[in-house]
């Protein structure tokens, strides 16, 4: 029995093969169409279905944290399978996911669960989970894993160039979204997630300018330890971004991630982003 397992939520956007390789336990989050609630586990709601539905005449879906009971079940199973669980979640400031982890940990035994609010989403969270999983696989103690993640935290950044600010405004999760948009002009925001805060870096009006802004940000942050290219149903754009950043790729292949619908609801289709870790 492994001594420590790593657990997270589906907003981490980790490719399935990595999830399998490290036996990472993932709690799904939910997209809600009215009273129809679908887990973003790639089975109940696939990326393809999600973006198809987004383009049709349905009301915009909302998103929700998993039921407390589901987090509880997955955590209980992980504790059956290992001595200890290190759990990293989406920012408590942005989602109720963390709270379901916290309540579950309290019910199941706080001493066996190391709970970390990653302050990150998508591959920002994903990279932290991978770091934890690698350490766990090498037999690190929970306290050491926590230290490794904490050491990494400040070096993790997520940037996203959204095709429109409308989804962000409608999601209501960032107060400034409404203020940054213009009813008269099409505005594309470039945003940053860092330490649980979503901020606007700039506004642009063309996708080329948005693309260039991401490239500039990545170059400024180089040398990089990890790099993931993120997109919302925009694989061609992601490929082009990965190629453009070939000069600063870390040793391994860049990871390309079609982000989970739960995040897609809030940022909208046709977005591009980067989830990076700076070298220490």
């Amino acid at each position: 029995m492994p001594r420590t397992l790593v657990m997270t939520d589906s907003t981490c956007d980790l490719p399935p093969e990595w999830v399998r390789r490290f036996d990472i336990r993932i709690v799904p989050t939910y997209v809600q169409y009215g009273l129809e609630s679908l887990a973003d586990d790639g089975v109940q709601l696939t990326r393809t279905d999600f973006y198809r539905r987004l383009a049709t005449n349905e009301a915009l879906p909302t998103t929700s944290a998993p039921p407390l009971g589901q987090t509880h079940q997955i955590m209980a199973q992980a504790l059956d399978d290992a001595d200890h669980v290190v759990a990293l979640t989406a920012p408590a400031k942005l989602s109720g996911i963390y709270n379901t982890f916290r309540l579950s940990a309290e019910q199941l035994g706080r001493e066996r669960v190391t709970l970390i609010d990653s302050g990150m989403l998508s591959m920002g969270l994903g990279w932290m989970v991978i770091t934890a999983a690698e350490a766990a696989q090498q037999g690190a103690e929970p306290v050491e894993i926590k230290k490794a993640v904490a050491n990494m935290g400040p070096r993790v950044d997520v940037w996203a160039a959204l095709d429109t600010v409308e989804y962000l405004r409608r999601s209501g999760r960032v107060g400034w979204a409404a203020a940054m948009m213009s009813q008269l002009l099409q505005i594309k925001p470039v945003i940053r997630l860092y330490d649980s805060e979503v901020t606007a870096l700039t506004r642009v009006r063309t996708s080329q300018r948005a693309f260039d802004t991401l490239v500039e940000l990545a170059h400024k942050a180089a040398p990089l330890e990890r790099l993931a290219v993120l997109h919302t149903n925009n694989l061609p754009g992601a490929r082009r971004l990965a190629e453009t950043l070939a000069d600063i790729h870390p040793a391994h292949e860049p990871v390309m991630v079609d982000v989970t619908p739960v995040i897609g609801v809030h940022v909208g289709p046709n977005g591009l982003g980067l989830g990076i870790v700076r070298q220490s």
Binding site: Y30, A65, V174, L184, L185, T202
Partner: protein, 572 residues
């Protein structure tokens, strides 16, 4: 669904597990009936989905689990409801609701029937557990509503041991607490609503009480009178009420999403326009649903048309808002674009503020929406005075100001005004960015960050101004030969980045000419600001023609309202 029930009054009627199932169903159904309203109240920046929907899904699962249990012991049923709530909980509000049920169930553990003492203890434990279920409890939320209900139940218990009477007082107190939530949470006050989670809880408790009193609890029936106290604190979206929610799919050829979005957005609010050249999905809230639909029909065929009367849904609630603190500062966006109410940015002394010169009321709106704190009207033939610019700078609440002259003939006056300001006010810093055209000013404003470092912000803005090329189309006021272009008085002329480069007999010919000069392979977006001598229909027709020539570019049409210039173009 509970149709009609016998009364459940007084001590002599036993409230056992079976009764609790029916009570929970009544709570669920009453919430079901009202959950759209609860959704509408959701204003928190950190919601997980819609509060009403989340709470309803939680209650549905709670009841479903309880119904499956064959027991009359109230403790067992309560535990089952709590389990169902935990397993079915959705979002923050659902999680808190599940914790309320867990606390309630804990108090009733091993009990067969409910009595007054257990009810009071149950409500207390429910509230306590819910407070513990939240990382940082905040007053003015569902927590406050639950706690005040529990406290009132404790007080009532001193006077009576009648369950229904205690419950009645608890529900009344819950409603009262709900009505006071805007006073506890500024964000609610600002949005003019009561707390959504709290109102969900009130509906659940009220549904249960209605059942206990033998009142009807039917689905989808609005009982405005019962919830009138909520009405007083609900503000409509604007003075004209909630209006209509209009949705449709527009199918056509060569549709321009950005233009459609811009036009639709000027008709109402909560706009969402997405799609491609062949199909566009439109969603907008308007007061006149005919406008977006007529506009859609003018461009192609419509399908999946949905028009919902939001007014009807809420008319019982939106009765009066006079004098109540709930309606301050709500964002109002009337349908007619000439009256678009724009919130001026809330600047602190330490922020950076923007002064922009605009040559038309439409351009002024654009600058305003992008964050300019003060506008000075002026342009080619009516340059504003140094005094006007000076006044605008000192009227900015922020001490650091960036000025966008947006015309080469205004840059000097702006610099002079800036010097006068800093000479007179040592605590002020003013930077004039040499923007020479309106599009340059608009482009410069994009990276503006009021909280940033002045040097960094002005540097980013300076760079951004050169992201666009500017075209201007006007009528020659005299005959001249300039820059190798021959112009006769009355002819249409075109300028590219301030330089005369084209002349012709029609606007469209000149526009073709200058776009040909300006729009290279990388060009992605062409924005046309039409002047005050043109109307939207003419301008739109021109855009339609030009988009044939530039099928790979997006066009945006904006009412610039400038004098003399038929069109100002920005190409990027």
């Amino acid at each position: 669904m509970v149709e009609q029930s016998s009364q459940l009054p007084s001590e002599q009627v036993v409230c056992d597990g079976h009764t609790l199932k029916l009570l929970a169903q009544a709570g669920r159904d009453w919430l079901d009936t009202h959950h759209p309203l609860v959704n509408q109240l959701n204003v928190f920046p950190v919601p997980d989905g819609d509060t009403g929907t989340n709470m309803l899904m939680t209650m549905r699962n709670a009841v479903k689990e309880a119904i499956e249990v064959d027991s009359d012991a109230i403790g067992q049923i309560a535990a089952r409801i709590a389990h169902g709530a935990v397993m079915g909980s959705r979002g923050n509000s659902g999680t808190i609701l599940s914790q309320l049920w867990q606390g309630f169930a804990h108090a009733l553990k091993d009990q067969r029937t409910l009595n007054a003492e257990l009810l009071v203890r149950g409500l207390r434990e429910a509230a306590d557990t819910a407070y513990r279920g939240v990382i940082k409890p905040v007053e003015g939320t569902i927590l406050t509503v639950a706690r005040e209900a529990a406290e009132e139940a404790e007080r009532a218990y001193q006077d009576t041991h009648d369950i229904v009477t205690i419950m009645t007082r608890a529900v009344d107190q819950a409603k009262d607490a709900l009505a006071r939530t805007p006073q506890m949470l500024p964000i609610l006050q600002k949005a003019g609503v009561v707390d959504s989670g709290g109102s969900g809880l009130v509906f659940i408790m009220e549904g249960m009480l209605r059942y206990a009193r033998g009142q009807e609890v039917t689905l989808m029936q609005f009982e405005a009178a019962e919830t009138e106290d909520l009405a007083a604190v609900l503000a409509p979206e604007d003075e004209q009420g909630y209006g209509y929610d209009v949705q449709f799919i527009l199918k056509g050829e060569n549709l321009d999403v950005n233009t459609v979005r811009a036009v639709i957005d000027q008709m109402g609010w909560s706009t969402l326009v997405v799609g491609d050249e062949e199909a566009i999905k439109v969603h907008v809230h308007v007061h006149d649903p005919g406008r977006p639909i007529s506009y859609g029909i003018s461009l192609g065929t419509l399908s999946d048309i949905i028009v919902e009367n939001m007014q009807e849904q809420f008319h019982d609630y939106v009765r009066e808002r006079g004098g109540h603190p709930g309606h301050v500062d709500h964002i109002s966006v009337p349908a007619a674009h000439s009256q678009i109410a724009i919130e001026s940015p809330e600047l602190n002394e330490d922020d950076i503020g923007i002064v922009a010169v605009a040559s038309g009321d439409g351009l002024a709106r654009v600058f305003r929406q992008l964050g300019a704190a003060q506008l000075v009207m002026g342009g080619q033939t009516n340059n504003p005075s140094t005094q006007e610019i000076y006044d605008a700078i000192v009227n900015v609440p922020a001490k650091r100001v960036i000025v966008l002259p947006n015309n080469k003939n205004i840059i000097l006056a702006a610099e002079q005004a800036a010097r006068l300001v800093t000479d007179k006010h040592a605590d002020r810093e003013v930077i004039v960015l040499p923007t020479r055209t309106m599009p340059q000013g608009i482009s410069a404003l994009l990276p503006y960050d009021p909280k940033g470092d002045l040097d960094e912000v002005s540097e980013a803005m300076l760079q951004a101004k050169d992201d666009v090329r500017t075209g201007e189309i006007t009528t020659a006021t005299r005959s001249v030969e300039l820059d190798g272009v021959n112009v006769t008085e009355g002819q249409i002329i075109g300028l590219v980045d301030g330089k005369l480069t084209a002349s012709g007999d029609s606007i469209i010919a000149v526009m073709r000419d200058i776009l040909d000069q300006m729009c290279g392979k990388d060009c992605e977006l062409i924005t046309l600001y039409y002047g005050n001598g043109l109307n939207e229909a003419e301008a739109r027709q021109l855009v339609d023609e030009m988009s044939q020539d530039y099928p790979n570019q997006d066009f945006e049409l904006v009412n610039g309202g400038q004098a003399h210039y038929h069109y100002i173009l920005s190409v990027e």
